[in-house]
């Protein structure tokens, strides 16, 4: 989707603010916001791409005015509501309301430790050979789905070069909207800065993204 999250190339946000000796968390609620989201992720009620889509679907005025973990909190609320895990009433009261529908099994510390240690690889067996190879010129498609996509607006319609065939990876567009992995070949594609930002821009800049095969066409 062309949401507020897709901000590459936008102007007006001001300088980068760097906090010296920044702590990992800035408040206790941030720790909890982080941990709750990560832990519930293990329960696999939704996948990472669904979570990202829910987060980027927050209306732009809200998205751009919330702190980072504030976004996580708002997204978790929305996801729990969408999945019938809570109600607006419960969120308001701050507690589960009887009758309580219990989860089948709580996520425990061992599961979490395992998730941290093992992660979740996104590569999958390929069903077909890769269409592109390093050196191929490709154009990022001009597509504007309202659903989740990881093809940023700033590269769409622009021509770049495949620099790496990464492998066959879970396709976030399908994983977010249909909960179907539908793996596709994934490529690292490099664009000249001037191709993206025009002839007046820095000639010694190149920008690479990862792009799944459906994002690309031969150029």
């Amino acid at each position: 989707m062309n949401g507020a999250a897709d901000m590459g190339g936008m102007h007006g946000f001001g300088p980068v603010t760097i906090e010296p000796n920044e702590p990992v968390f800035h408040a206790d609620w941030e720790k909890k916001a982080f941990a709750l989201n990560m832990a519930i992720g293990v329960a696999n009620i939704w996948n990472l791409d669904e979570f990202r889509f829910a987060r980027e679907s927050l209306p732009p005025p809200q998205y751009l005015n919330m702190s980072y973990y504030g976004l996580w909190v708002a997204t978790l609320e929305n996801m729990m509501l969408d999945h019938g895990m809570t109600t607006p009433d419960e969120l308001k009261r701050g507690h589960a309301i009887e009758p309580i529908k219990k989860a089948e099994q709580p996520v425990n510390a061992a599961q979490v430790a395992n998730m941290i240690r093992c992660g979740s690889p996104y590569d999958r067996p390929a069903g077909a050979p890769a269409k592109f190879k390093p050196g191929d010129k490709v154009r990022a498609r001009n597509m504007h789905p309202k659903t989740h996509t990881r093809l940023p607006r700033y590269v769409r319609g622009h021509t770049g070069e495949v620099v790496r065939v990464v492998g066959c990876h879970v396709f976030p567009d399908s994983n977010a909207s249909k909960r179907v992995e539908e793996p596709h070949w994934l490529y690292t594609v490099r664009f000249e800065g001037r191709e993206l930002w025009g002839p007046d821009s820095d000639p010694k800049v190149r920008v690479a993204i990862e792009a799944w095969e459906p994002y690309l066409e031969p150029a």
Binding site: M10, H11, P106, L186, K204, A208
Partner: protein, 192 residues
């Protein structure tokens, strides 16, 4: 926000979705155990061990795993080699993808709109705000983490560090130098 998080926590615990110990495990791990020191060790080894360096650039995931790092947010790790003529810099314009397993959780600026919006369009200007003034003829390669690949920048080894141990070299490797928004410390900086 504090109240909203407390509500979520209460509801999820009361309904039995998560155990409190699972939360503690997460907070403890990312606050105390996993941080840029991991990545620094990888970089220091790449500076001293040519075989490891080669392996790291060929298969970052496996090379890093050999040091005990990996898993969450580093299942597909790619190391990026800075050279005198190429500087690498990592961003996630769409959200906040970051190689947790080697760098810990990202700092605020990495997740901020100014960085995400500008890193891909005017990286040289952004670098100047970090105090990094690269010569105009150094190419800047920006890597926008749009998939589950995670990037670790291997900066240039500072001069004057011949014969240093990995341990000592690791002290020079800052978090920002592994994101590409900084350079490693120099030997003189350590004394200070």
């Amino acid at each position: 926000m504090q109240l909203r998080v407390r509500a979520l926590e209460s509801i999820l615990l009361e309904k039995g979705y998560v155990e409190p110990a699972a939360l503690d495990e997460l907070i403890e791990t990312y606050e105390k155990k996993i941080g840029p020191r991991n990545g620094a060790r990888v970089v220091a080894k790449a500076w001293t061990d040519p075989a490891f360096r080669k392996w790291l650039f060929e298969d970052g995931t496996a090379a890093v795993a050999s040091l005990g790092y990996g898993g969450r947010s580093a299942n597909h790790l790619v190391a990026l080699e800075n050279t005198p003529s190429v500087h690498n810099m990592v961003v996630c314009t769409l959200c906040s993808c970051y190689p947790w397993a080697v760098l810990g959780l990202p700092p605020l600026w990495y997740k901020s709109a100014p960085y995400r919006s500008r890193a891909v369009a005017e990286p040289r200007a952004v670098l100047r705000e970090f105090g990094v003034a690269l010569p105009e003829d150094v190419e800047i390669r920006v890597w926008d983490s749009t998939a589950e690949l995670r990037y670790l920048v291997v900066p240039l080894r500072p001069d004057g560090t011949d014969g240093w141990s990995e341990e000592k070299l690791a002290d020079l490797v800052t978090r920002d130098s592994m994101v590409g928004t900084g350079l490693p410390k120099r030997p003189g900086d350590l004394a200070a």
